[in-house]
Symmetry: C2
């Protein structure tokens, strides 16, 4: 059977999904066409709708279909408190804790000079404007705890200092419910250095 | 952030893919919207096209966008030799070996009375008609080597016998390049029972 037909093209197009290779793509396509054409149609239609309508929020840069995202549009949220995250997915994770009632600023990446990702790509100009406007009282740096994430946090921390805005970093240590035995040494040494009076 | 927006609906719609849960769906959606909108558009458009145009071949029941699938339409293929497989994906796998030059018959499942899958659901009426037409000389039973697959092979073998058509089963045994040490006992005992003069 030729791989050039519609079926072959469709399978190839599924390979653009993260973590999906030729075999998985084939399995997905056959499953959809044989078992769930209704679900497949819904997926395709929603995807087209999303591509055309979902853009970055002009204030926090997260993905949204509205002119201003739900969080930025909510008057109950404290815009004086801004949490810096790397990805829109991180916003969802923090929102699920329901403990944070401020706003966000999504970088869509982290500083990575080798990949050509500098301050401009992360929208730090927009952040600078927001800091200069004087409404922000505290930046919570919640970038990932990787080398690039830490460097990004440091860079933004400097930016905050220039604008006399307080910058804090979320705590890193042993996860809740985690056992010492299974904690890696990097995390553990960090937890010892950041110990608090009990 | 509300899960009810377009983004939430899109993520939920990705959960219809086999092996994709909420977390993976979220990752896929964010990846597509942030990194590969062009690939996402292509995927969605091809999927809609496939849903509307891909149907079962009236002769072998595999998935095809044409009136007759590529294999059935090929005059060079021997229609006297018919390979019975469970899924369209199996056709692809056999085609990749390039060793088989006959036709196929796709069951789209296997006999499974508990799931309400009987001979009618597998299109065995169509197969009976093809056997009665007298063109088929040999049925190669390539259903999977599971309990249901074997039962299905047995059932179709009986059907072939009724129409005086030769039925053969593909060989089962130790895979090529496989080591005895890592072969399961079921396969190994089958390999011993089916041993050939060397």
């Amino acid at each position: 059977m030729s791989k050039k037909g519609l079926l072959g093209q469709l399978i190839q197009s599924f390979c653009c999904l993260p973590g999906v290779g030729a075999k998985t793509a084939q399995r997905m396509v056959f499953y959809l066409l044989q078992r769930d054409r209704q679900g497949a149609r819904r997926l395709a239609e929603l995807l087209l709708l999303a591509i055309d309508n979902i853009n970055h929020c002009p204030q926090c840069r997260t993905l949204t279909e509205d002119a201003l995202c739900v969080i930025c549009a909510d008057p109950a949220r404290d815009r004086g408190l801004v949490c810096i995250v790397e990805n829109p997915a991180d916003v969802w994770v923090v929102e699920q804790t329901a403990v944070f009632k401020g706003g966000y600023f999504v970088l869509h990446g982290r500083l990575s000079p080798l990949d050509g990702i500098g301050p401009d790509e992360l929208g730090l100009d927009l952040l600078r404007q927001q800091l200069a406007a004087g409404q922000v009282k505290e930046l919570i740096l919640a970038t990932n705890s990787t080398v690039e994430g830490e460097a990004t946090a440091f860079f933004i921390g400097e930016l905050a200092r220039k604008h006399q805005v307080k910058a804090t970093r979320i705590a890193h240590g042993v996860p809740m419910g985690g056992e010492l035995e299974f904690t890696d040494s990097g995390t553990l040494s960090h937890a010892f250095n950041d110990r608090k009076v009990f």
